[in-house]
Every structure is written in C-alpha cells, then in structure tokens.
Symmetry: C2
Subunit: 214 residues, 2 copies
C-alpha cells in the first residue's frame, strides 16, 4: 500500500490578485493541498499504541501553524480490511480521530460520514493498532469535508467574509468545480484549501496546485 | 482489497426533461454510473491468462449494449504494487487494456495517462496475471477519461449535438461540477455518464444517481 503524506513541496506561497479574469474584476487564486489519510491521537491513546510515557516525534511542520507530521504510523482497521502505515499528525488532541478517504472507507467497510476535523460525534467506530497495542474508538472515523483555511485578512481581500461555503474551480483535463467548500477563518491559519486524495485524484492534481475561488 | 464492479442496480432509466430549472428552459438530467477498475482482453491474452481455447464467461450485461461483466478476474501489477481480483469485461477486443483509477495508478507506481477507452498508444506498461499465466503489456494502462455515452436522439433533445465536451453537475454535501466530460455519440449507446471511483467518491456518489448537463 502506498504511503501518502501531506504534500507540501511548495516553498513560496503568494496570493495572486489579478485583474484579467473574465468572471470578475479580480481573480482569486488559492493554494490547494492534498490531505492524505491520517490520525490524530489523545494522550492515553499515544501511550496505548506506542508505550507508556511515549511522545510523538515531529518529522516536519505542516503548513497550518502548530500542526506537524510525526514519525509514527498506525494501522487503521474496519470490519472489512486494514490500511497499514497511516501517518499520525501532531500535536495531541482531546479526542482521537481517523480521517480517511471514501475509497479507504469502502475498503475498510466503514460508513464514515463526511465531517470537518474534530466533529466526530456519532462517526464510525474504528480500531487503531501501533507497536505497543490497539485501541478501539467507539467513534472517530470520518471522511474529511473539503475546506478552506483562511485568515480574516485574506477572507476580506477575497470578498468572502461571512460566507460558510465557497466554490473552487481547478482546470486541466480533469477540471472540476468543488461546491460546498467549508470556509474556516482564523488568525492562526495559513490560507489554503484542503482536499482529500479522492478529490485530488478526481481532479488529476498533484504537487503545487492552485484553485480559483468563484 | 474490496472488489468493485460496475454498479447497475437501477431498473428503470428515464431521461427527465423538466421546465422548472432556474438555469435554463429545460433541465437535463442524466444517469451517472461508477466504472470500477477493469481490463479488456484480446483473444491471445485470454488464452495466455486463462488457458488455451478459454472463453470468457458472461456474468451479467452492462448498460452499454453488447458489453458484459465476466466471471474472470486478473491481477494488475506495476513497479510498486499489485491490485488483485480486477474484473475482466467482455467481449474480447483487438488490444488488451487496463483501466484503473488514479488512486490505483499511484499505488501501482504507474504514470497512467487520462484517456478514453481504446486510446492506448503510448500509455503505461502493465502486467496482467491470471490462473494460467501472465502477460506484459508494453502499453495499455490508462485512467479513464470521464465521458458521456449518448444516442444521437438524446444529444439533440439535450441540445448538445456537435459538442465535444459538456459540464455535468452533481449535488449533495460533496457537490461537484465535472468539467471536460467527453461526449461520445452512437446509435448503439445507452445514454449515461461514466465516472471512475475517484470521481464517484470525490462526489460522495453511490447507487443510482443523476447529474445535470449544464
């Protein structure tokens, strides 16, 4: 099974404000990042999976400030199958959670709902397995809802302040318009869209790519 | 690995011509079918994979007239991995071909281009393995380009005759507009859209679903 990680090869990010769009007086380009299957863990699950007193080891920072990829991997198991070597993201959270693609969810046999990260109430049960043991989550497996992280300043510059969702277009031979992209605004965010790999692959996207907020 | 097949649970297909669309004087609903990974085989490859004189056994008809799912399965192998139990579709063709999702292609380690079925010149090399042996295809592995099968009468009714591509919208919490949907017209077709499972999952689609030609 191929190992996916957050792809963040891009070094320089710029918000392009262009004046030559046929659709509007200014075009609104935004970075798109593919978000691979991953888990977030609470303290006691870190210890159950990796050992008493264990601390997650940072591998590299992600674009969202404070978030990081760790060296740790777990297996994610549902009634129909297992996906091995799923990345653990840090820092620790209050509740453990697995974010998988719908392709993964079908292979695992899980009816994982489409949710924003952290909104796990009533989501699918799932088993996580690490080198020191397993934990059964009664809920916590979701398919990530596509979303836009954005700073208040960028939301104002883009003219989308106050909107709960936006539409984002990508071009190319598998061009798509993503409807219902949830808008999440925070001073602490780095402005970018998160899609999962079903969405990235459906659009034929990889590497450093940009979409247009319609 | 979960086994996907063409999903064709629907019993009755109707083309809806409605007059209440806010976008146009008539709405244009069309059936969408998810097309799972599959292979087509030429005669000598059927024999190489399943044995001399072997004939593919029909399991059930597909919606496109003359096309059928067979009982046969093969393994599809690239430099990075193998996908087991891939369905063989009938009837036999002049050239063997594997159609996989981009998710599959990445897992297999194949740079499979996005193509319409049959357009395999210069596509990715791939190995197929059946119970009687293996064949190495020097080319033949593609990611299916999204397309609309349509009869000339439906193309005229929908007002899209002569168009090479159309845009198709689906609703729901993962709503999408598929751009660049290739239009394939034939008297022998059943009118429907074919998407692969990256596209179906990106849109959160399963079962009997319809899109709107924009």
């Amino acid at each position: 099974m191929i190992e996916y990680t957050h792809e963040s090869q891009y070094k320089n990010f710029e918000v392009y404000i262009m004046s030559d769009s046929p659709r509007s007086s200014k075009s609104r380009k935004v970075l798109i990042e593919g978000s691979a299957r991953h888990v977030h863990l609470k303290r006691e699950d870190v210890e159950a999976l990796f050992g008493n007193g264990y601390t997650l080891r940072k591998k590299r920072d992600l674009l969202q400030p404070g978030e990081f990829l760790t060296e740790e991997k777990v297996a994610v198991t549902g009634p129909r199958g297992t996906v091995e070597r799923v990345s653990v993201l840090g820092p620790e959270r209050k509740a453990s959670q697995a974010e998988v693609s719908m392709t993964d969810a079908r292979a695992l046999g899980l009816a994982a709902p489409v949710r924003l990260s952290g909104d796990v109430a009533g989501s699918a049960p799932v088993r996580l397995t690490g080198p020191a043991g397993s934990v059964e989550l009664a809920e916590g497996c979701i398919v990530a809802k596509r979303h836009l992280h954005i700073t208040p300043a960028d939301a104002e510059a883009f003219g989308i302040d106050g909107r709960e969702t936006v539409r984002i277009k990508v071009g190319g031979e598998r061009g798509l318009v993503f409807e219902e992209v949830a808008v999440r605004v925070s001073e602490n965010f780095f402005t970018e869209v998160h899609l999962d790999y079903d969405e990235m692959n459906a659009a034929g996207l990889s590497g450093e790519v940009y979409g247009e907020i319609l």
